[in-house]
Each structure stands twice: as structure tokens, then as C-alpha cells.
Symmetry: C2
Subunit: 173 residues, 2 copies
């Protein structure tokens, strides 16, 4: 009695239900990273949330960074560490707390806290779902944990948003 | 050289990194559902995004519903269907399009579109990550696809938010 949709296309030219295995992935110039935007501001017209699927090869990591949006992680596979400096009142982040992260764990990054995620496993990939609010993300990057907050460099557009910013597609979203 | 965090507690009394296997889950009165709030407005003080992990037993489904927030799904396990009525200009949703959904697929529900997710598999659970903006979610529920939009019933607080609304904990968030 159910009729399957004859057109699988959404209004933006993407299939509504997408096979993640068939979505474009890239390291966007970052060694050891595989990034897929599951739901994106520039890519899909999202206004309030953005969702990524990221895989970090053994030893790879995010930059040390902060952003003034909410961020939630779900670890699907692997093991690693979350490094988090919560003192936003100091002149620089300082020595971070280190939390083990593992498959089937979840964590919320407090807004503006400086943080970094590492794959510390020697053999296995670390696969995570990352959700951010207020896309596209505006990220401040630190070279190390002693870099003053005011010296952190704004990386905007962020790695995977650079391509879209360069194309006129954005005007159609 | 790394020192692990001596306290795993976040400022709200939750461990910062949480084992999903140890988080509270319930069906909240809905047959066949297992719901876990991974990051919640009432539970964790989220202001812009909320993240759920839900498992639907064979044959179970969400209500037919709409909401004026963004919503993203990631299917982790199982098979089912997304039923989606995109005509927001009619008096009622009408016959929905039906899209197959499957493990490792993802989809975005357009804001205010009436939709329903079914586990159509006879044997296996359907496990999904659900992300919504503007929490706590305000949901309008339809008894069937021919119910007029104006007759849809606002269910607020939603199933898993009811407990928290009843307790004074909310004032502390
Ligand atoms: Zn971050
Ligand atoms: Zn929904």
C-alpha cells in the first residue's frame, strides 16, 4: 500500500536520503583526516546545525582551537583523548585536562573552551560524529597551549568550507 | 608527559566524557522505543542543539509530526522508511513520499515538513542519531496524514522532556 518516492531528489539537488559511503570525503590538507559533511551550511543550506563524520588515522589530531558555538561529539570507533583547557579567564589556555575517549562515548565541549581531540591508538582509526551550532564554524587556532588567547588565529572559512566560499553556488543557498 | 584529568566531572555534575552504555534510557511510554539524550537542553543545559540516540524495535515508528526546527538523522543500524509530506500549503499533509533508509545513510528533514520514521525490518532494530536545533523540541503530532495542519496537537514538553519539566532542576540550568 506504500508507494515509494519516484524522485529521490530534495529541492537543493541532493538526494534526500544519502548513502554516507557515497558522499565526498577529503582530508582538506590535514594529514590523517577524513572529513565528510553530513549536513552543512554551505553545502545543504543548514542555518542552525552542522553535522560532520570524521575519521582520524592513528596519531592524528585536531588543531588546538576554540569556537563560540556549541559542539557535541559521539565516538563511533577507536580510542583517543580529549584535551580541554577550561580557564577562559587567563591570558592563555594553559595545561589542558586530558580525558580518555572511546567507542560509544559522548561529550559536550563548553562554549569557548580551548580543546583538541587526538587519536592516541597506534593501530586503529578514531571515528567521530561532530555536531556544531551556528554554522559555518568560526574557529580560532592556537599553535600551543601557552599561546595567548588574543594571538589565536581565526581560520575562516574553515578547512572544508573553503571550497564552497570560492564558488558562486553559495548565492543559491 | 600527559597527566590525565583527576576529576572527570563537568561543571553540571555530569562526567564530561560519558559512556553511552551507562546513560539512562527509556521508552518514555512509547512502545518499541529506546531513547537516550546524549546532549540535552533540560538535562545538560544545551541552548542551540540537542542530540538523541534512539533505537526502534521491528515495526515501531515515530508519530506523524512536524516541528519548526532543523533536524538531521544518521542511521547507524537497521532498515526502515522515512515518510515525508512536503506540501505545507495544503490544508493537511496528504499522502507522503516514502524513502528507504538504511545503515550508514543520512537525511535532513526540511523545517516544518510533516514526517514519520518507521522500522520496517521484521527482525532487526533501527538505530538512529537524531539532532535538532532550538531545544527543547516543540512537536505537533498528527493522528493521520489527512488531519488538518491546524488540528495537529502540540506535544510540549515532548516525551523525554516531561520528567525534567516536573523537577526544580530546571531552574538551576
Ligand atoms: Zn571544536
Ligand atoms: Zn522530527
Amino acid at each position: 500500500l506504500l508507494s515509494f518516492a519516484t524522485s529521490l531528489e530534495s529541492s537543493k539537488g541532493f538526494p534526500l536520503v544519502r548513502n554516507i559511503n557515497e558522499l565526498p570525503q577529503s582530508n582538506y590538507g590535514r594529514e590523517g583526516l577524513s572529513h565528510i559533511t553530513l549536513a552543512g551550511s554551505l553545502l545543504h543550506g543548514m542555518k542552525e546545525i552542522e553535522v560532520w563524520l570524521q575519521t582520524f588515522s592513528p596519531g592524528s589530531r585536531t588543531p588546538i582551537h576554540r569556537h563560540s558555538c556549541e559542539e557535541v561529539f559521539i565516538v563511533l570507533k577507536g580510542n583517543g583523548t580529549l584535551h580541554l583547557a577550561s580557564d577562559v579567564h587567563g591570558r592563555y589556555p594553559g595545561h589542558p585536562k586530558v580525558f580518555p575517549i572511546f567507542a560509544n562515548s559522548t561529550f559536550i565541549i563548553p562554549v569557548n573552551d580551548v580543546h583538541q581531540v587526538w587519536n592516541t591508538d597506534n593501530n586503529a582509526d578514531l571515528q567521530i560524529v561532530v555536531i556544531v551550532s551556528r554554522p559555518p564554524v568560526k574557529v580560532f587556532i592556537y599553535e600551543d597551549w601557552l599561546m595567548p588567547h588574543i594571538a589565536a588565529r581565526l581560520k575562516y572559512p574553515y578547512y572544508w568550507d573553503e571550497e564552497c566560499f570560492d564558488t558562486p553556488v553559495r548565492d543559491e543557498l
